[in-house]
Symmetry: C2
Subunit: 559 residues, 2 copies
């Protein structure tokens, strides 16, 4: 048996087509493709405008059970399904998030799929790509610099320096920047105050870029950003310090979706990448809505498990962009189901049908939840070589008992050949017209009730609890006109509860809302339940120590 | 008379050719051009390797008198001369530095030339361009994060946290970040220490990228960076924490020169942009040496006036890259000469031949200095509409008395038509074979003597002075094997002395060397004479307040 190739070896051996050929598959003339090298391109705003009257294709969401250290393969399945749909004769494309640069140098591998279900050029996609995240970093930090500059030159807006809400960002895992004191060193450097950095994907600018419908909407949302508060607690906006125009200028190119290809030369948009905890965790609205105008099937993914990712995809992205998903795929692996059934990572190699059966409770909960939104679901079992027939049959039987179907997928090893059955089932579901999408709660529902609705109906907790300060804050925002915003839950991705170790399908837990934040530009209220890290650190032996250019000039060690 | 068009209006009206056509003028096949949009491209490393046996063209340096608030137009003249050389039938191209993003939002206009002597696309060049500076920022800050991470996880290398020499960078004018305390907030965030940010162009990584001959040399230099010192003052290198490989990976694309075009569709490389005070202030060696393989004439510029810019170009860049300039152009304006002659900015409109004659001393000094390096010089008078015939004649007569020639150039208003005479004179100088370039001092000269040589022979001061700590530091470096490095002077650009208000041609001043720094990766010793700002601030009304996208999607207010 031949040695298993690494992701980067497979990606490097890909026979890529010129990006103009990939664009042509979608009917994009080459003058509307702004190339970045020979294998990446941005789509011009003019072209996007020109296709607005096309009929929409069908939108397929790929989501997953709660993540475990065993890995689920959501991105890989998204890519594999896209290729599978093309293989059975559908005009299909995938829409993915852009990976963040910082985590590449920590422990995380790439985020461009794996095995024979990848998007390429994977090195570029995982590093600077087309510069979108750098543009977001620049726009974010321009606003930061203008705030401290405003204070320095007399603070006409009377911003309370203890209440500056806008931090700085860097696309790097750098725990030393989480909490700093800035403006030290005397008069010429300003007024010392506490400050800090988040990683770029946690920037509200990222969420804004991913929710904005066009450049005008982008600029309006940037102006709506709350940068801080006065002593009387009234808000000061980015518009007040006249930063919105220059920020939009910095983001002009970043707003254009990026076209790349799968290993099987099918088109993929890779655009935007907001955090899936303090933001909504989906690729950009512009990319998804444009893809729907160009393809009959658009496969996209949401961050984390379905409790967080799919809920936000439905309640924030679909609600705001008017999207109506036709079907959902819930990705699971036998290994991850076993971990949800109580097996430790080191014991995953051994067959354990009982644990599989127990762990299926987690999967079942996600199936029920997706159906609550009126979206029909199918389960994709992302196959590992260690899976046994008995384990697979246990999952299939369980899923049948839930009124759905589980299909084994082998895209990692076989590409589209391994997803034909899944693709056919997705088409059947989507064309059945059974989808009746609606969000979980109405815009008009009071904010805390929205949180409670998610806690009860999605997390199956008994209730959300919050102290008076949090509830008062929500009331204040309602009075200020923000009551109609959706809620963005920030909670551990590992459990339906706020305890990351509570796997499976817990019930009746209490969900404490520690803090709430208003993302007035992005247009949601963040409810923070538990510790949320917005600036990661590097591990003891960061992967950056092993990354280098080999003698042929190729990148080694990135994955 | 028609209204004078702004730079951005002229640039926007340019009839640009596809970048493949521009590349073809240099014999670059389109598969070796990595396009960024339709009007920018990077040159592949393979192509650069393939032309190494070509004969070199002639290298022309454009430098200037000491800058004044009146403006000199060095970049504009570089572009105009390049176009002029093409106009008279020479195969010529220009090599410029990339502008920094941060200052665009302060007071500074663009840095892509002006009037009818510009490089395009000017908005892109002045903003994100091809992402080189973002890559440098990432590589720099990865090293920073790895240093604090190393300390966090036990500090096996025993770095003294008070002696971390490597700061962080951001391509933004943000005075609040000059001096900070980082790693606050408790155990999980590390060990609190003093730190700070410089602007990206001040990064040693920028200087390294601009001096490296190829990717291997780049990685070696990155490894040589001194990141800090132990309690016993021994140095710790970037190589010791294994950051060099990943940094090189981040800089892989940034090492490739960027091809754009002038308004007259002539090729231009725009690549690299180190500070002209704490670094050497020239575009990249890779761009210049590649250009020399592709064109018969390569026109390039150095930062600030000839005392700083040309001296470093000769003593650092040409010395290290083995370049032999064939001629130099010293740019002056009547207005700037008058300011050097004592006229205030508000009085520049009135004819003042006496002040012109007085101010010519500054110009004369630069002519003498350039000749000291064995490079023949011609003076370009960058014409303004307010210049009078008598003033121009006074400069011409003075320059003749110095054994050189001054030529009026009107490229700002007329493009290449306005530089034909200059181009012809440059060709005559270059083809005369009179150039006998040699650096000012030998590699073997002791470090402090190198500084003194520059002070005496270029600045015409009486001597450099420094306290014992500075001299001891230089001796230590000599003992550690760094004695053969050239010296990079960091001093005010406004005067031959260290007093920015001392215009003209002062003599016998003393030059105090306040501090010395070792840029072991870049390969020079920085001698800091006076206050040097490595992180600018924004003015009271930053230009970012007036920058926005208009209804047609064009950028307004950038220039």
């Amino acid at each position: 048996m031949a040695a298993v190739k690494s992701d980067i070896e497979i990606a490097r051996a890909a026979s890529k087509k010129p990006i103009q050929e990939i664009g042509a598959k979608l009917g994009i003339p080459s003058e509307h493709l702004l190339p970045y090298g020979h294998d990446k391109a941005k789509i011009s705003a003019e072209f996007i405008s020109s296709v607005q009257n096309n009929e929409d294709g069908k939108l397929i969401l790929v989501t997953a059970i709660n993540p475990t250290p065993a890995g689920e393969g959501k991105t890989t399945t998204t890519v594999g399904l896209g290729d599978g749909l093309n293989r059975i004769g559908k005009k299909a494309m995938v829409c993915l998030r852009e990976p963040s640069l910082g985590p590449c140098f920590g422990v995380k591998g790439g985020a461009a799929g794996g095995g024979y279900a990848q998007i390429v050029p994977m090195e570029d996609i995982n590093l600077h790509f087309t510069g979108d995240f750098h543009a977001i970093t620049s726009a974010h930090n321009l606003l930061s610099a203008m705030i401290d500059n405003h204070i320095y030159w007399g603070n006409a807006l009377e911003i309370d320096t203890r209440r500056v809400a806008w931090r700085r960002v860097m696309d790097m895992n750098d725990r030393a920047l989480r909490q700093i004191v800035c403006s030290l060193g005397g008069v010429t450097n300003g007024f010392p105050r506490e400050a800090g950095f988040d990683i770029t994907v946690a920037s509200e600018v990222m969420a804004i870029l991913c929710l904005a419908s066009d450049l005008k909407d982008l600029e309006r949302r940037l102006g709506d950003i709350i940068i801080g508060y006065r002593r009387d607690k009234s808000a000061v906006y980015a518009r007040d310090i006249k930063a919105d125009g220059a920020m939009a200028v910095l983001l002009k190119d970043a707003m254009a979706p990026n076209l790349v290809q799968t290993l099987e030369n099918n088109p993929a948009f890779v655009h935007g990448g907001p955090f899936a905890n303090i933001a909504h965790g989906c690729n950009s609205v512009v990319a998804t809505t444009t893809a729907l105008k160009l393809a009959d099937y658009v496969v996209t993914e949401a961050g984390f498990g379905a409790d967080l990712g799919a809920e936000k995809f439905f309640d924030i992205k679909c609600r705001k962009a008017g999207l109506k998903p036709a079907a959902a795929v819930i990705v699971a692996t036998i290994r991850a189901i076993k971990m949800n059934g109580g097996v430790k990572k080191d014991d995953l190699g051994a067959e354990n049908v009982a644990a599989v059966k127990k762990g299926c409770a987690n999967l079942g909960r996600h199936i029920e939840n997706v159906k609550q939104f009126g979206v029909p679901a199918v389960v994709a079992i992302n196959h590992f070589i260690s899976d046994t027939d008995a384990e697979i049959e246990a999952v299939k039987a369980y899923v049948r008992s839930m009124g759905a179907e589980a299909i084994v997928c082998m895209h990692w090893a076989k590409g589209s050949e391994g997803t034909v059955e899944l693709a056919e089932r997705v088409v059947a579901l989507a064309e059945s017209g059974s989808a009746q999408f609606s969000p979980l709660y109405a815009d008009e529902m009071p904010l805390f009730e929205k949180i409670n609705t998610i806690v009860r109906r999605v997390y199956r907790g008994s209730e959300a609890i919050a102290d008076k300060a949090v509830r008062d804050q929500l009331h204040q925002w309602e009075q200020a006109g923000y009551g109609n915003l959706p809620v963005c839950m920030a909670k551990t991705q590992y459990s339906f509860s706020t305890d990351p170790n509570l796997r499976g399908a817990p019930v009746d837990h209490v969900v404490p809302v520690r803090e709430v934040r208003l993302a007035a530009g992005a247009g949601f209220i963040v409810a923070i339940c538990g510790e949320i890290m917005t600036m990661p650190g590097l591990p003891k032996q960061p992967s950056s120590e092993k990354i280098f250019l080999n003698d042929a000039g190729y990148i080694e060690g990135l994955f």
